[in-house]
Amino acid sequence: MSTTDVHAHRTTTPPADRATGGGAQVTAVRPPRISARGRAWRQRLVATLFLGPAVIYMVLFFGYPVIQNLIMGFQHYTITTFFTDEAPWAGWANYTEVLGSPLFRTALANTVIFTVGSILGQFVLGLGLALFFRRRFPLSGALRSLILLPWLIPLIVASAVWKWLLDTDSGALNRVLMGSGLIDSGIPWLSSTDLALFTVIVVNIWIGIPFNAVILHGGLQTIPQELYEAGSIDGTSRWQAFRHITWPMLRPVVSVVLVLGVVYTLKVLDIILGLTGGGPANATQTLATQAYQLSFATFDFGQGAAVSNILILISLLFAVIYLRLNRRPVDE
């Protein structure tokens, strides 16, 4: 079930073709009293009825915000706009101001470090777990499904729990470290400018492991067992089997997991706001949190829009990569 789903999404057109073939046959068996034109009209009416609400929703809740955001990026859209109802044209002022600020450079650098660090950690640990749980042993199924739990709980809950675990004075982690004599005083995991970004990345890795493990596990299930059997006759080692069978066969799933991971990580907001609020001293500020703070803390929606437009641009770049990978057949 799990693997077929991945592949079902991969093929974008074939199911539609098959189904429209069915649609053509449907019209063939309809009573002849309705003219061909009437039938076509009726079918269009039904299609509109079924698709209309979705199209309207997509336009209002995705199309409009994106366009509005693009426009706002060129406007002085601030708190006064709410009173005067005027948002004067700003040209590129929002962009030059945002791009010229040192905070933007910090946020951009943090976004890159946060994304790359999170993805690397999630992927490597997720793949390790996926490979481990491919073995069959007592309780493997039950334990595997428990992996999902960190992914299913609300992100803000996860950040609340971790904030408590990592508390400098009373957090469980520091208590263990102090109890074992490794450190003398509590480590300020979230309140030190040197450590906070690293700590936030570790927490985000914890959250992302289940997703990576489950999707990669699904990918592993599609690799035919015979390949390994043939390999073992030839006397391949475990590492050789991984290098020459598992990895090449898994690559299409790997690329989808990585690209989606990047797109997803770029917009992470809950964890950072919950753990550090972007601090201390902007040490964990990313483009997403900066966009949030410009719009909703300083109420400069124009500059907030400028930052989030830059974020859209980066996301779309990866979205295009994703769609290209998605269209390609699995075995290529």
């Binding site: 073939g21 777990l129 042993f137 992996i147 809950v157």
Partner: protein, 270 residues
């Protein structure tokens, strides 16, 4: 590679991995059962469970939990009503622009929520949807609707066309055929979509944070965030709230196992 030489050793390793991975969740439950106040030396085991944390949590966050529940249920209904027929139409009808719509659905999942919140805040302020349950339902469905369209379309694409044809031969119109044949057969995809829409909406933080500004309508995720904002001196009630906010996830994992696995993988499109 599947030949296991030491089954017991593997089970032991698996247990260790899960214990390490789930320790934060254990700690949440453990801390929620400790007497409030003195949290500097939280016991490692809840040997003397104390429910005062939960009492405080329900007192302070009970209304917020109800708000979350109403928003999540509303979003499930809205998402399914909009997405299921659309998914069906995408596979059933010969439409030139169906591919464009599908493309838009895929791309929409990559748009950062902050972009949507940024634009919606101003419209919502104008038309009075800030601090309202319908406003949150509409905004939160931005995660449920594309997800449900993709999950349902994937399954409906594999339905045999003969099923719908048979209904047509029996004289059912397209709407009847959809309701009496397609919907029952697609039950699993619809349940999966519904469960995940519930979870997405229940977990939503961004729209709760940006589209609610007063206490009248406040989801529990924002309630937890507000706890974190101030200096926390009563972790047991914060953790009790966290446990209560995690209940849907726990229920989902226990009761709806097979749907979760399917949805998690279907979530590869998310």
């Amino acid at each position: 590679m599947n030949t296991v030489r030491h089954p017991k050793l593997n089970t032991a390793m698996g247990l260790v991995i899960i214990i390490v991975l789930l320790f934060p969740i254990y700690w949440m439950v453990n801390a929620s059962l400790q007497p409030g106040g003195a949290t500097v030396d939280t016991a490692w085991l809840p040997l003397n469970p104390d429910l005062s944390g939960y009492r405080t949590a329900l007192d302070e966050q009970g209304g917020n939990l109800m708000t979350s529940l109403m928003v999540a249920l509303g979003s499930v209904v809205l998402s399914l009503v909009i997405a299921v027929p659309a998914a069906y139409a995408l596979v059933q009808f010969r439409l030139r622009w169906a591919d464009y719509l599908l493309f838009a659905v895929l791309i929409s999942q990559m748009i950062p929520g902050i972009v949507i919140a940024n634009a919606l805040y101003n419209v919502y302020a104008e038309i009075g949807l800030l601090n309202s349950i319908p406003g949150l339902i509409l905004a939160d469905s931005t995660s449920g609707i594309p997800f449900a369209i993709l999950i349902c379309r994937a399954l409906m694409g594999s339905l045999p066309p003969a099923l719908v044809e048979a209904a047509h031969v029996d004289g059912a119109g397209p709407v009847r055929a959809f309701l009496s044949v397609v919907v029952p057969v697609s039950r699993n995809a619809i349940i999966t979509s519904g469960l995940f829409t519930f979870l997405f909406t229940w977990s939503d933080f961004l729209f709760a944070l940006t589209l609610t500004t007063t206490e009248e309508v406040r989801p529990v995720t924002l309630g937890i965030y507000n706890y974190l904002g101030a200096y926390v001196n009563d972790w047991s009630s914060v953790m009790a709230t966290a446990v209560l906010a995690s209940l849907p996830a726990l229920v989902l994992l226990v009761v709806a196992q097979k749907y979760v696995a399917a949805g998690a993988t279907g979530g590869a499109v998310k």
